[in-house]
Amino acid sequence: MSEAAPLLSVRDLRVAFHTRRGTLVALDGVSFDIAPGEILGVVGESGAGKSLTGTAVIGLLDPPGRIDGGEIWLEGRRIDTLPPAEMRRVRGRQIGAIFQDPLTSLHPLLTVGAQLEETIRTHLPLNRAEAKARAVALLREVGIPAPETRVPQYPHQFSGGMRQRVVIALALAAEPKLIIADEPTTALDVSIQAQITALLRRLCRTHGTGVMLVTHDMGVIAETADRVAVMYAGRLVELGAVDQVVRAPRHPYTAGLMASIPRMGKREDVLAQIEGSMPRLGAIPPGCAFSPRCPSASARCTVEVPVLPAGGAGAACWHPVAEPAHV
């Protein structure tokens, strides 16, 4: 594979929930790539479909949700059509997952060492002693002090930040090419949050692992990601380099979102706010889903669905915010 080839390529992904009361389209026309060693941040508000995108990529959609269209390619191999048994081998071996709550993603009745060894031996041809040594090495790599003494301990004996490190060690156990991290720092305190994002960045650089970082926190994205994908009502509305999206957002939704974050630098009397709230899945307006809340919406916006410009960077908008002169 050439250097330029993406690690993960998602094309026109469509996920729908088929319920008795009709079909709800939760993701529609989502396309993006992740290069090896790259961190793609996926941001959006609750219900925008960011977690669902991650779940679809690792093949863990729960019925009645299912992939209704589009393709997911990992290292040149199509994975959305794999049979469940094969997908199980891809998961863990090639794709690792880190979830929000470190307490519920660890087995409370197994020692941390046992969980690591099980994962290692499932995916790598190592014997017990080698697996054990690797478990200790992994814990050391994610920054857990005195890993030898921690291996025989249970998850409840670890603090929140340390547990999240264990979860990261588990995700890394089989040296996956891609890690899906769904709100990995949301349940943690700010001081611990900074430690975990720094760890993710370092691991990503040293192992060349691609990371899809799903979060609602723009601050975490700005600090951690290389590129950002902004989601709204199941669609990608903006995609681009993190500096550009944060400093000069093109989509009115991204611009509104950025303006509504209280600044550390200065104190305004009134925060900019986006009126209204995100539409429910069953009631996504025709045309651009953001049009009812958009300050620059026109008649065209309520009819035609805007798409991301070819090449994948930019805003899916008929009236994008003008680029500032200095860019």
């Binding site: 508000e45 609750s46 603090s159 929140g160 930040g161 340390m162 305190d189 700010v190 001081s191 611990i192 949050q193 900074a194 430690q195 994002t197 720094a198 609602h216 926190d217 723009m218 601050g219 975490v220 700005a222 600090e223 993190v242 944060v246 509104g256 979102l257 950025m258 509504s260 974050i261 209280p262 600044r263 550390m264 630098g265 104190r267 305004e268 009397d269 009134v270 925060l271 900019a272 706010q273 986006i274 709230s277």
Partner: protein, 322 residues
Amino acid sequence: MFEPIALTVRDAVCLFDVSPPFLDRVLSGARRRVLRAVDGVSFTVRRGRTLGVVGESGCGKSTLARMIVGLQPPTAGTLRLEDMPLADGSLVRPRVQMIFQDPYASLNPRWRVGDIVAEPIRELKLLPGEAAVQARVAQLLETVGLAAADATRFPHAFSGGQRQRISIARALATEADVLVCDEPTSALDVSVQAQILNLMRRLQAELGLTYILISHNLSVVRHMADDIAIMYLGRFVETGPAEEVFANPRHPYTRLLLETIPDVQQPNRDRQPLSGEVPSPIDPPSGCPFHPRCPQAEARCRETRPVLEMRDGREVACFVVR
């Protein structure tokens, strides 16, 4: 311009006994264990102002909030809402209400919104007659940006931000003067957070409310608070006017906390993430509780505990930076 004091807290202490059961203690000789959730906190809040209390999980900020509203009796010390003079010279005791973090858990799902908001009015007998109560409920819902017709709906029909508006309407229904807001926007999305923060600011200007805002989100506190208190392991380590504390943090913990938070505007500043974790309040370190994580700690920090000392309108509990 000094407003009268609304709330005075003097040496408030809250201890929780987390000892093993009696028999275990006798059999295994385990000692009693006491968690010092709030360990001697004193402050005052003036009317119409906002005090922001910031700290990491387990620092005692929520226990402090619960003590102020009376949900948690203090082990020692006093928390006192000062009587307010009315226009005619008589004194009235102010009311305090709390806004909770989780708008999904703090509203009774089986009550209509109108009843949720009307309950305090009926209970406190603030208005005579049901018609007056209903009119007041409609007015309150409109004040917080909902429609009067929403009174007949149930909480499940509302989004998180709208539910938080209902919580605020319920608190205002008591004609409360002091609102204790415990992480009021932590469960909300940023665009909705901005709506709620704007609403809180507007209500403060219109009704002269006093806020005690508990949060771990420094940028929210920065936006809302006039004064700020940084809490660590049950104590205040730095207090002062918010502008000054943010512009020129003195205590090493405040400095590290401010450095640590991700800032959208200046990502990847040259900074040093805070190492280590908050120690257990059951077994706090000797001396200054922050010394194991403090880059400037000296020998005496391990032995004696610094107390808050006032200088230039700021209070800092630290030997090194005073």
